[in-house]
């Protein structure tokens, strides 16, 4: 079987050891790292993403495949020069100040990476300035904010204010999500977008960056 197809299929089975082994084989055979990434790993993750959206597989299955993807990515990363890691776009992600919930945010990050985005994960309890400073420094076009509490929503508002104060509204777009967040709330606080779940976050961010 075609090596890239084998990588994609092992990834879909969540077999991280096999994905690592096959990715190394592809590298040793002199295959372009970008081809291995796009046509092996990301191609496999795209199938998984679609099957998950169509309710054919469950979340733990997606996460086993994501681990397999990372096993391949870890081998490819050193082969790309620092600025050349191919990426669909850069997203700064974090849970807002005062909140320590991060499972939902982590799932969004995993799915975005699976779709080829570069993620700068700031973790939890992130101050508003840190979101914007990091996006500016890293040249990210999207800031994704997560919260599981209504009491931490003002932190999201502050991030949007800072973006506007610094005149960055054209360069940096915001997307918000988390259990108590809704499209209504996103509109009220002036966020550019809202993501219902991790799969929806990927779709929405793809639209925002035009890929």
């Amino acid at each position: 079987m075609d090596l890239l197809k084998e990588i994609s299929e092992s990834l879909q089975k969540g077999d991280d050891a096999k994905v690592g082994e096959l990715t190394q084989k592809a590298i040793d055979e002199g295959m372009e790292p970008k081809v291995i990434l796009d046509d092996g790993l990301i191609a496999g993750m795209n199938v998984i993403g679609k099957r998950f959206r169509d309710h054919e597989i469950f979340l733990p299955h997606v996460l086993l495949s994501a681990r397999a993807m990372y096993a391949g990515m870890d081998l490819l990363r050193p082969l790309f020069l620092r600025d050349e890691v191919p990426s669909a776009g850069k997203v700064v992600l974090g849970t807002v100040q005062g909140d320590l919930h991060d499972i939902g945010k982590n799932l969004v990050g995993i799915m975005l990476k699976g779709a080829g985005f570069e993620i700068v994960d700031l973790g939890k309890d992130v101050a508003p300035e840190v979101f914007v400073d990091t996006a500016e420094k890293e040249g990210a076009s999207i800031i994704g904010m997560s919260t599981l509490l209504t009491t931490t929503a003002p932190g999201m508002v502050r991030v949007i204010e800072i973006i506007n104060e610094r005149g960055l509204g054209d360069k940096i777009k915001t997307i918000v999500g988390g259990a108590p967040v809704s499209q209504d709330m996103a509109d009220t606080i002036g966020a550019d977008a809202y993501g219902y779940d991790a799969a929806n976050a990927v779709e929405t961010i793809k639209e925002m960056v035009g890929v």
Partner: protein, 242 residues
């Protein structure tokens, strides 16, 4: 009087179906073997990490009238406002799984063990959730032993952050209950630390005290999937005992 309870794990452990359901796997689904193996792994890790404990403090209706308004952010027609004046007895409660399990979840993510991390998170979340019911049963048993309630009475927990009782209501609740004694603290945005913790008021009374129609102005935003099923269980238990 304040009472601290150390739960046996078996007593509070959430059923496997609830843990899988939390990850979007319906009860009637055919679950692949390796997902079940992940569950077993997470459940046994949880068993060695969790320190489930809770605290109860009885409160008079007059005192609760002071605690409930919190910082003045409650909805006008909050469910608890309708329920508590009819209650026979009230007690504040808080319970936690302890902090160790959250550290282990973070550690799994650091090591790219996402599926195990999410499974362990689900076991801890669902067990914390179930603890509200178990602590209500403990209070019920206490009231029966003290001949202040009968088995036909119902004790249910109501939590800030639900049903129009604003989440900032936890500040006054914490000031009265002082659950720092079991290691729970509240941060500026009313998040409890450890993460896997719950708080609220236990309401004891006849079934009529608890039955209300969900359909308040704030219900459409509510993501509580168990509200109506809890009500149905209550009605069914009443029918069963009649």
């Amino acid at each position: 009087m304040k009472r601290i309870i150390h739960f046996e794990l078996e007593e509070v452990r959430a059923p496997r179906e609830a843990v899988l359901d939390h990850q979007g796997i319906p009860e009637d689904a055919e679950v692949p073997h390796r997902i079940l193996a992940l569950y077993d792994d997470a459940a046994s890790q949880f068993a060695s990490l969790a320190r489930p404990r809770g605290m109860i403090a009885e409160i008079s209706e007059a005192e609760f009238r002071e605690v409930f308004p919190g910082e003045g952010n409650n909805a006008d027609d909050a469910v608890v406002a309708n329920v508590f004046p009819k209650a026979d007895h009230l007690a504040l409660f808080a319970a936690t799984m302890g902090g160790e399990v959250s550290e282990a979840i973070a550690d799994h993510f650091d090591k790219n063990e996402f599926a195990l991390g999410v499974m362990l998170d689900a076991v801890a979340s669902m067990t914390a959730d179930r603890t509200s019911e178990v602590i209500a049963d403990h209070y019920h048993a206490q009231l029966i032993a003290e001949e202040r309630a009968t088995p036909a009475h119902h004790v249910l927990g109501y939590s800030p952050g639900y049903c129009g009782w604003h989440i900032t209501g936890q500040r006054k609740l914490f000031a009265y209950l002082t659950p720092d004694k079991i290691g729970i603290s509240l941060n500026a945005s009313c998040l409890m630390n450890p993460l896997k913790s719950v708080s609220g008021v236990l309401v004891s009374g006849s079934i009529d005290v608890h039955v209300f129609k969900a359909g308040y102005s704030y219900c459409p935003q509510c993501r509580n999937a168990t509200c109506l099923s809890r009500m149905e269980r209550l009605m069914a238990s009443e029918r069963g005992s009649a």
